[in-house]
Amino acid sequence: MNFSLEGEPEKKKIKIKVTVIGDGSVGKTSLIQKFTQGTFKDDYIKTIGAQLTNYKAEIDGYRIELIFWDIAGQDDFHFLRPSFYRASRAAIIVYSLEENDLGRRSFEHITKWYQDVKQFCGEIPVVVFANKVDLIEEQSLDKTKIQNLVKEHNFLGYYITSAKTGQGLDEAFNDLIKGRLR
């Protein structure tokens, strides 16, 4: 075991690259921003290309550094997928619960995004964030479809989230990290 200057045992450092994917405007960037900085902007600012965000935390005696690779949903850089996904230790697929075309499409595309993860990262923990719950009546939400999908692809789990209110975020991210640590 390593020791710090103060004589305490130095905590083990772990760097984890997490790839965040999903259709455009489902709220990927907002989720990361809310989780890492606690802020939320109502305006839609499109992610251009990709975005890197660092987050440091101590969990279960580990010094964790999370690097979120937030990849633009518009998928302009098809050929960069191998480089974007390379060395990812976990993946978050985000879709929107909005009851419109965008929401429906983003759910339909979960499988496509998962195929990319599988192709380039192999078997890594994958969680699904069903985002923008603040825009719907949660009680009327039919979870069967997502539950079936989670089961079908053996995802680590799914979380109902809202980047606006922060609902479900801590639980989702912490589970993901712990899942990764296990």
Partner: protein
């Protein structure tokens, strides 16, 4: 009153048996003038006495040598002319001169007669041309002699004329026009060659010029160049010979050998500046009628070869042959001209045979301008009389246009601009100026406007510059010139011109506001926001009632909001108020539409989707035929992921603008991809390709689609086929590299990207190639090269003129990988 020609002194002052030869003098006068009066003989310099004159006039009339056609006026007869020649020959002045043969004097090409005379006689006098047998009339002689003097073919000293070296060259050319027998031509030419050869032998010996090819080229060239033309400035003839030798040594035949100006200057003992100056004069400024072409495999190396030399003659034959072949075949199969195919075919024939294969790149750059040059020659010189000439004209008539768009001058700043960092400002906004200058344009210049409307900016600039040569005070045209420079992304040049104009401008200046708008526009493109804003403020203060004044500041602030030149300023004002004021004052509908479009662009930046779309719709309703407005709407819908609406709009555009079907359908396919419907997208691409089977861009696009559909073999096969078809096309190598990257074949991808850079260092895509190359090196674990190429890619991205979103994307991608390398 007509000027009377008087005989030379040696005639009227010569004495025969102590008496003047009055018969000769009178006959000379009547031979060299249409007619003469009694008084012409009485006055000086002849000063005949009444009795002598009466005696000889009557004598000549009685012999029927002259006639009195009205009282006191006399003319010579045929018999008189004969008699005059007899007398002249006995006087000896004709006898000692050589005169041109009949084959030359058959036509009244007096220049040729004079040239012949001065070449074949050491000196000639004015009278030698006036007198028989030439008997050139006074006014023609004066005109022709002057012409030859101005062209420096003849010189005059002490009232005597002699030939110059240039005249000797011209004399040789002149002889070719006449049906002289071969030997006599050769004899004539030999005289001149002998003289030059003597000097050349000495020069070769002195400077050890042993290579026979160089010797031959040198002699062939120097025989056509007259040292006399530069003699007054370049007093040492050996220096002149050295300059010619420099050009001959750096002939493409010598590749890879090359001697630089500096090395040559040191080795052959000539001042480098002198050498450089005269090489420029001969090659670029055409002080001689011989044209030299240049090939530049790198910025510091230039090879020279001359028109009608062996290399150029063969190149011309090959090029003409391919152009003829493609013209006929294209007509046969109703195909459009494909400049790449022509260039490729010519390159295949000449590289490795006529030129070293390593010169392929420089030849590729050279060919478009060379083909245009050949086309101009045909256009300018061929008289359409014979069927063959007409066919030639048909074959070449489109070549200027076909190769115009690829002329190096045109491409120079198209993608990379003139500055280290360039910002794209939508040039469609330059159309805001049109209603304000068009009324001031002369009819002649309105033709230039149609070139601008057709986006033929290079031609428009040429036309403006030609007009400005004679009308340099036309301020409106200067403004239009600056605007055309902006269209060509030559903002630095535009600013030089505009800054001068601003110095001239005052409040009375009718187009001052246009000058301010353009200067602010150009300043934005080089990131000089402060100057642009200053200009916006100033013009509002100067011309507050003019819509364009407010549009100027509105444009500056809106683009500051987009590019964040000054973030604080961007937060407080993004130009909406100014644009609204401009809209209130503007009365031209097309301008209102453009202002709505600009406002909508600013609102898009502030994520105001609804209003942004509404404003674009208003713009479209004002000018429903303007495609740029629809394209602006597609950008907004794309930004906000409104794909179904975007598909609907694209279908609508396909109906309205069938001329851009290909672009619209490619866009449509991309939207299907974003919707995840790859099959629908592929179908669009396939149908489009079926319609245009020869379209290589579409085939390359299809290769990408195979890639999206994970059909690796098909994708690679298609792009490899394209490369096979056009081995010189850098863009195909770039696409190849990209597809290989997708399949993680980084080593092969690196080679493809390196080839793309080698082939198309100025291609529109090259900034992306550098970044992709950097990413490949990162994935191959070579972080040093990765950082180098990613940074290089960023520099190129900053310089290039492309859509801002695209620019941002590539800069971010490069930064992400740089950050990743740093944090590893």
């Amino acid at each position: 009153m007509a000027v009377i020609n008087y005989p030379p002194e040696e005639i009227y002052k010569s004495f025969k048996f102590r008496k003047r030869d009055s018969e000769h003098i009178i006959l000379w006068m009547l031979t060299n003038n249409d007619h003469c009066q009694w008084s012409d003989f009485r006055q000086a310099p002849l000063s005949f006495t009444e009795s002598t004159l009466s005696k000889y006039i009557n004598l000549l009339i009685s012999k029927n040598f002259i006639v009195r056609f009205v009282r006191g006026k006399y003319k010579i007869t045929k018999e008189g002319l004969k008699r005059f020649h007899e007398i002249s020959s006995t006087h000896g002045e004709i006898k000692r001169l050589n005169y041109p043969p009949v084959v030359i004097t058959r036509k009244r090409n007096y220049e040729d007669w004079i040239l012949w005379m001065v070449y074949n006689n050491t000196i000639c006098k004015w009278s030698n041309f006036l007198e028989p047998p030439l008997a050139i009339n006074q006014s023609s002689l004066s005109k022709k002699i002057n012409f030859l003097l101005v062209k420096e073919l003849v010189v005059r000293e002490n009232k005597e004329y002699s030939i110059t070296n240039a005249g000797k060259i011209e004399y040789s050319k002149m002889l070719k026009k006449y049906d002289l027998d071969r030997q006599s031509i050769l004899n004539e030419e030999s005289k001149r060659i002998d003289e030059i050869t003597r000097k050349t032998i000495k020069f070769f010996a002195d400077y050890k010029v042993d290579d026979e090819n160089v010797q031959f080229r040198y002699l062939e060239t120097i025989l056509g160049l007259d040292y006399g033309r530069v003699k007054s400035m370049l007093t040492n003839e050996t220096d002149f010979e050295k300059i010619i030798l420099y050009l001959m040594l750096n002939h493409p035949d010598q590749f890879p050998n090359y001697i630089s100006l500096k090395e040559f200057a040191n080795k052959y003992g000539i001042k480098q500046s002198k050498l450089e100056y005269y090489v420029d004069e001969i090659v670029d400024n055409h002080i001689y009628p011989i044209r030299f072409f240049t090939l530049s495999p790198s910025p510091e190396i230039i090879y020279y070869f001359q028109e009608y030399g062996k290399v150029e003659s063969m190149l011309r034959t090959i090029t003409e042959n391919h152009i003829t072949k493609f013209t006929y075949l294209n007509r046969l199969f109703s195909r459009d001209f494909d400049k790449f195919t022509i260039e490729k075919a010519v390159l295949e024939d000449i590289c490795g045979y006529l030129f070293n294969d390593a010169l392929r790149d420089s030849l590729r750059n050279f060919l478009p301008s060379y083909i245009k040059y050949l086309a101009y020659k045909i256009e300018a010189k061929v008289e359409l009389k014979e069927t063959y000439d007409k066919l030639d004209a048909i074959i070449w008539q489109n070549m200027i246009d076909v190769f115009q768009s690829r002329s190096p001058e045109d491409l120079e700043y198209q993608f990379m601009g003139q500055n280290e960092v360039n910002y794209q400002v939508d040039t469609v906004l330059l159309e805001l100026l049109k209603p304000y200058y068009i009324e001031h344009l002369e009819a002649l210049n309105k033709e230039c406007q149609s070139l601008i409307d057709n986006k033929e900016y290079y031609k428009a600039l040429e036309s403006i510059e030609n007009t400005l040569e004679s009308e340099e005070e036309d301020r409106v045209l200067v403004i239009v010139k600056a605007m055309v420079l902006c269209y060509m992304n030559r903002y630095k040049d535009a600013l030089i011109l505009l800054n001068e104009e601003l110095k001239l401008s005052d409040s009375r200046y009718r187009i001052e506001v246009l000058c301010y708008f353009l200067t602010a526009f150009s300043s934005l493109t080089i990131g000089d926001f402060n100057r642009a804003l200053e200009l916006g403020n100033e013009i509002i203060w100067k011309s507050p009632e003019h819509a364009l004044s407010h549009a100027t500041r509105g444009l500056v602030l809106a683009y500051n909001y987009i590019y964040k030149f000054d973030s604080e300023k961007a937060k407080e004002d993004y130009g909406l108020n100014d644009l609204d004021k401009a809209l209130m004052m503007e009365s031209f509908k097309p301008n209102m539409a453009l202002l709505f479009m600009l406002k909508s662009r600013a609102l898009l930046e502030s994520n105001n989707f609804e209003e942004s779309i509404q404003l674009t719709d208003r713009a479209i309703s004002l000018v429903p035929t303007k495609v740029d407005l629809y394209l602006s709407k597609t950008t907004i819908l794309m930004y906000f992921n409104e794909y179904p609406d975007l598909l609907e709009l694209l279908d609508d555009m396909l109906e309205k603008f069938p001329n851009i079907e290909k672009d619209l359908k490619m866009k449509k396919a991309s939207v299907y991809k974003l919707l995840g419907d790859l099959d629908a997208g592929f179908k669009v691409v396939d149908e489009l390709l079926e319609k245009n089977p020869g379209d290589k861009e579409l085939r390359s696009f299809k290769a990408y689609w195979y890639q999206y559909m994970n059909k690796k073999e098909e994708a690679l096969r298609l792009i490899e086929e394209l490369i096979e078809l056009e081995r010189d096309n850098g863009e195909f190598y770039d696409s190849y590299g990209e597809i290989l990257m997708n399949y993680e074949e980084y080593e092969k991808a690196v080679k493809a990207f390196q080839k793309a850079i080698e082939l198309s260092s100025d291609g529109w895509f090259i900034y992306q190639t550098y970044i992709k190359l950097g990413i490949c090196f990162k994935d191959l674990g070579n972080n040093e090269l990765a950082v180098e190429y990613l940074n290089k890619g960023k520099d190129y991205t900053n310089r290039c003129f492309c859509d801002f979103e695209l620019k941002k994307k590539w800069l971010i991608i490069a930064d992400i990988f740089l950050t990743d390398i740093e944090s590893a």
